[in-house]
């Protein structure tokens, strides 16, 4: 006998529903309520899925990549020589720079003959892939483990980070050198 179309379950989820009358205990609902409460109470003793965010912070992956920094060497000179390889490799085209020639008397500021006069990263474009870090031949740009990526701002312009926000502060460079010695 061929099955009629009404009996076929294409999704396999077809369920026969019945309209049978409930028994006394079922009509009382108490059993159902206690069952439900037991499930709730069980969860009190389970490990919590959430954390108290500002006070507690989750553990980061060891390969976590945060905000960029332009490093200085142990003498406090900027490593970046504006070779443009980070901008070349950047898949989001977030990096722009302008090179300038080091003048006499600036040898303590910049390591090479050429340096980046302007260095900008558009944080709205950046995808934190770390390719700039990988391309850099001078170990100048690094993605830090800073937990704060990009703070919220009102203007788009504020998301274009210049050298003021990117270059490692001199005090940090000095502290690093002291740590080394």
């Amino acid at each position: 006998m061929a099955t009629s179309i009404q009996n076929i379950s294409l999704s396999g989820k077809k369920k026969q529903v019945s309209n049978k009358e409930m028994t006394f205990w079922e009509r009382l609902y108490l059993v159902a309520i206690i069952k439900g409460l037991l499930i709730t109470i069980k969860h009190f003793f389970r490990k919590k899925a959430t954390i108290h965010y500002p006070e507690q912070v989750r553990e980061f992956s060891p390969v976590y990549r945060g905000k960029h920094t332009l490093k200085r060497d142990e003498q406090g000179r900027e490593n970046c020589t504006a070779c443009g390889l980070c901008a070349l490799t950047c898949p989001a085209e977030a990096i722009t720079m302008k090179a300038a020639e080091r003048k006499k008397g600036e040898e303590h500021l910049y390591r090479e003959e050429k340096y980046a006069e302007i260095y900008e990263i558009n944080m709205l474009r950046c995808i934190f892939c770390g390719l700039c870090e990988e391309a850099c031949p001078k170990d100048a740009i690094y993605l830090t483990i800073s937990k704060e990526l990009v703070p919220a701002q009102y203007d788009r312009e504020d998301f274009i980070y210049g050298k003021d926000k990117l270059v490692m502060p001199l005090e940090v460079a000095m502290a690093n050198t002291q740590k080394l010695n």
Partner: protein
């Protein structure tokens, strides 16, 4: 005369060198050349990059040549058989030559303006090794000013002497040459006379490394951020062809160079007026984008396809749909012999 290079046979005229024959074949068999320049007489034989193995001297005397020979200065013989890239010995020799050339090279490619179109970079990319075995101090020179148009970086020089030949053959009297000998050899001007001849700028183009670079372009941009275009102008300087490559950033001409062919040799020499003084777009007739070999970094500025202005018809598209979709079959004025784009169906 018949020559076989890496199994490729070619018919050449008497007096052709092996390198020229290989360039006629083209492709992988072409040996790299750092000092040889086909447009300049007397170049070649210095850098030893183009070493090849001759496995059969000629039909008359088929004995192989015992040593590797510099292909740029060795003439072809009838029936000669040459191994270039296919020979293990040649690959080894080129590796060794590259290592020697890099001994005194400062490896400051991130700073150097030649990076991206540098022959030594290409050579070491193909034949160089990643490590260095040289632990001694590199040869350095005091920076020297040779005029306000050309920047000399003597540390980067590999002493190919192409620029000396340019000065010898293109300019009236040359004021620079090779001073001293051996490790102290350097390119310099006599009593630091500034180089101001009308064709002196060509030594920038013939320099295979970044030893001679354009001072008007110094640190302005990396070459691969510029867009090269073929351009020409009516140049009144005698001897100048006026055909150049202009390197643009936006609407600004940053640099003017001669046009370089696939072997990185200039097609025609240009004068200093074209090179340094004509930096306005209105000075030039732009012909079109300049093509470079497939693996060149200059190609990252991929603008060669035509870019049309994007018209956003969102409002019209949402409200009315595409024109071709709006045609209804049931409408009386549709011709059934007409395709959807309006062309007639052929009978």
């Amino acid at each position: 005369m018949k020559v076989t290079i890496d199994g490729h046979e070619i018919e050449v005229e008497a007096g052709t060198t092996i390198l020229q024959a290989a360039r006629m074949i083209g492709g992988d068999v072409v040996p790299p050349a750092m000092c040889y320049y086909s447009k300049l007489k007397g170049t070649g034989g210095k850098c030893r990059c183009c070493l090849v193995e001759v496995t059969k001297g000629s039909d008359a005397n088929p004995t192989p040549m015992p040593k590797l020979v510099a292909s740029c200065v060795t003439g072809c013989m009838d029936g000669m058989e040459v191994n270039s890239k296919s020979s293990e010995r040649v690959t080894e020799a080129r590796k060794a030559v590259t290592e020697f050339l890099l001994i005194n090279h400062p490896l400051d490619c991130p700073v150097c303006d030649q990076a991206g179109e540098c022959d030594l970079q290409n050579l070491s990319f193909e034949h160089g090794k990643a490590q260095t075995r040289f632990i001694e101090e590199k040869r350095t020179f005091e920076p020297e000013n040779i005029g306000d148009k050309i920047q000399l970086h003597m540390n980067r020089c590999i002493l190919c002497q192409r620029c000396v030949q340019v000065a010898e053959q293109l300019t009236d009297y040359r004021v620079h040459g090779v001073l001293n000998r051996g490790d102290h050899a350097q390119i310099s001007t006599m009593v630091s006379a500034a180089i101001d001849n009308e064709f002196s700028g060509n030594m920038i183009d013939v320099c295979p490394v970044g030893a001679l670079t354009d001072k008007t372009f110094r640190f302005k941009s990396r070459v691969w951020f510029n867009k090269p275009f073929n351009a020409h102008r009516e140049c009144t300087t005698p001897g100048c062809c006026g055909k150049v490559t202009v390197w643009m950033f936006g609407n600004e001409i940053q640099r003017v160079t001669a046009r370089k062919d696939e072997f990185h040799e200039v097609e025609d020499f240009i004068c200093n007026t074209c090179r340094y003084d004509k930096k306005e777009v209105s000075d030039w007739t732009i012909e079109g984008p300049r093509k470079f070999e497939k693996d060149s970094v200059i190609n990252v500025n991929n603008y060669t396809r035509k870019m049309d202005k994007v018209v956003i018809n969102t409002e019209k598209g949402i409200l009315m749909g595409r024109d071709e979709d709006r045609k209804k079959i049931s409408m009386a004025d549709i011709d059934y012999n007409e395709k959807i784009d309006g062309t007639q169906v052929k009978k």
